[in-house]
Symmetry: C2
Subunit: 336 residues, 2 copies
DNA sequence: TTGTGAAATGACAACGTTGTCATTTCGTTA
DNA sequence: TAACGAAATGACAACGTTGTCATTTCACAA
């Protein structure tokens, strides 16, 4: 009860209090079955009385590992929450904690810089969450003793990567339009520098070209509803526009509002698909069909990849987590 | 260039390579000015050639501190991103990294349990992000050598706490209604177990009672737009309802849509205020006035509080970060 | 009782740093 | 040139664990 105020209680202190050797205390912690029950109880009692807590530094020093995975957030946005959630849950399940650093606003952090900083911290491996291009992407080489996984849609020459299949998701949405009898699909992009936006655009373009359709000029947005609205006003005047793919749900909503304000109906006049499936949170009875990525799963995969590669840091793999089309009623079937 | 593949390069290896003593290498790292330039260069060259990286465990063991702050996420939701962002930036600014663990879905984690787990990890202090009530809140005592800050609207008997001033924010919104000539304010709550929702409701109630107004029965929502819509349908039928405070923007939007569907106009017939100021992202030309909390600032304050208390873990303080009313046009002035 | 092998425990070194204190080297002045 | 104080460097212990290997204790059979 009245725990002593001694600065740090070491295993040695516990050993003395329990009348056993240092090593026996160590055993009680790491291989309890190898010590007699009566002894074990005595040690536990001593630990309790003294308020003993194992010293992380000493343990790690001896063991040569930390039980921590480093996470570098180059970018911390809304969708990142679910991903962190997946990383954290998977980490815990496998007995790891997370050590996190973040690129600061305005700072220009390269992969090399991130690796340098991480390798000063208690980590056995690391995950880079990279949503924008970075200068040294191609040339970067991870520390040979630190398994490194990059979350990014781009392929990396030496590191393992994990990504949503954004391109595939966009292709899926496009084909959904085409399979419903639409002859063309317009595209509203997100911010130019965003890799997600670039990949979604790439998938859209590829899907159209595969069917021999010339993609119309994409409309530039910035992820927010207002930019979608602006795009929608433009699209409302195009007679051949029956299908719009917006790079996220907020812009899709903007497009829909603009169409409505122009006297057009979704889906009767124009069909719309978005990304991320989050509109239902904000719009009651939302009808928007949307491509949803499994960010949580993405995080889980990334962490598992790191842990799997702990023994062979130079191994390399590429994981794509597919998206899902959440169907509602914003796409009209023109085949009737 | 051709870095050796020796498992771990220690300061001793560097010392041998540079022809100096171990301690000199240590000095080059920690107090470069105390070593002659020529020697320093030689050591640096050796470090480079061997690919030396300081061992975190050994350093921490000797120093008795880690340079890491633990973060326990009892709850990881959308608003948490900005908070983490603030924590991470402030941490970096002060030379700390973050070690993070998370309550797993379904798991019932107490403060004591969180503290126990954290104290096995490399941390000098910790932050608990607590958005729901927890069993041992009142009885919990933080480890005496680990400064602990809890992010929660509740006051804690022994730990420092940091919180948005949710109650004050709700009061502010209510008074804004009343100051604009409204005689009463209806309230749509979030999920029952959410402390945020509880505090916002408390502030709403207090503001009305202060002015001698009997608060009407609050409507129960669940944060999502659909529940707001349901509440809106009910409110549309109440002739005395001129003002609605919804516990977040999504529900506020639901309320507005329901009112519109019932033929009522916002703000001409009914005025509405929400919380979090995020509707503009999803709704073009959004008119919703909203109470915005500075989550980033909250994170910064929490981290600073931990760092400030590192030397005196038992100190205790309470910080409230005020909200801001972002005015748009969803509130009608009835005083005319 | 004694002998035996297995189970339980202990002594000691080692992990890679930094602090303490002693020693060497240097530049300056007498 | 000698003497001196300051600057630079080094030897060694210590931080709190765990691994190795030796030793003691135990339960059981002879």
């Amino acid at each position: 009860m009245a725990t002593m105020d001694k600065k740090n209680v070491s295993m040695n202190d516990v050993a003395v209090a329990a009348g056993v050797s240092l090593k026996t205390v160590s055993r009680v912690i790491n291989e309890p079955d190898s010590v007699r029950e009566s002894t074990r109880d005595r040690v536990h009692a001593a630990m309790e009385a003294l308020g003993f807590r194992a010293n992380f530094a000493a343990r790690s020093l001896k063991l040569g590992r930390y039980g921590c995975i480093g996470v570098v957030m180059f970018h911390l946005s809304g969708g990142a929450v679910d991903m962190i959630d997946g990383i954290a849950d998977a980490a815990e399940e496998r007995g790891f904690a997370l050590t996190m650093i973040k690129k600061r606003a305005g700072e220009k952090m390269t992969l090399a810089e991130a690796a340098r900083r991480m390798s000063q911290l208690p980590v056995d491996g690391m995950i880079f969450n990279l949503r924008q291009m970075v200068d040294d992407f191609e040339t970067f080489e991870a520390p040979k003793d630190l398994k490194t996984v990059i979350i990014t849609p781009m392929e990396h020459p030496t590191c393992s990567t994990v990504s949503d299949d954004q391109e595939g998701g966009a292709r899926m949405a496009c084909e959904y339009f085409l399979d419903h009898g639409h002859k063309n699909v317009y595209f509203v992009s997100g911010k130019k520098e965003s890799l997600s936006s670039q990949c979604r655009m790439k998938g859209w373009r590829a899907a159209l070209e595969t069917r021999g359709i010339e993609p119309p000029a994409p409309l530039q947005g910035d992820w927010n509803a207002d930019s979608g609205y602006a795009a929608g006003l433009v699209l409302a005047d195009k007679p051949d526009c029956t299908a719009v793919l917006a790079a996220n749900d907020c812009m899709a909503n903007g497009v829909m509002m603009a169409l409505r304000d122009k006297g057009l109906s979704v889906p009767d006049d124009v069909s719309v698909i978005g990304f991320d499936d989050e509109l239902y949170k904000t719009i009651p009875n939302s009808i928007l069909t949307s491509v949803k990525f499994r960010h949580r799963e993405l995080g889980v995969r990334a962490l598992n990849e790191v842990v799997a590669g702990l023994e062979a840091p130079s191994s390399r793999s590429r994981t794509l987590v597919s998206g899902v089309l959440v169907e509602r009623s914003s796409v009209k079937d023109l085949r009737a």
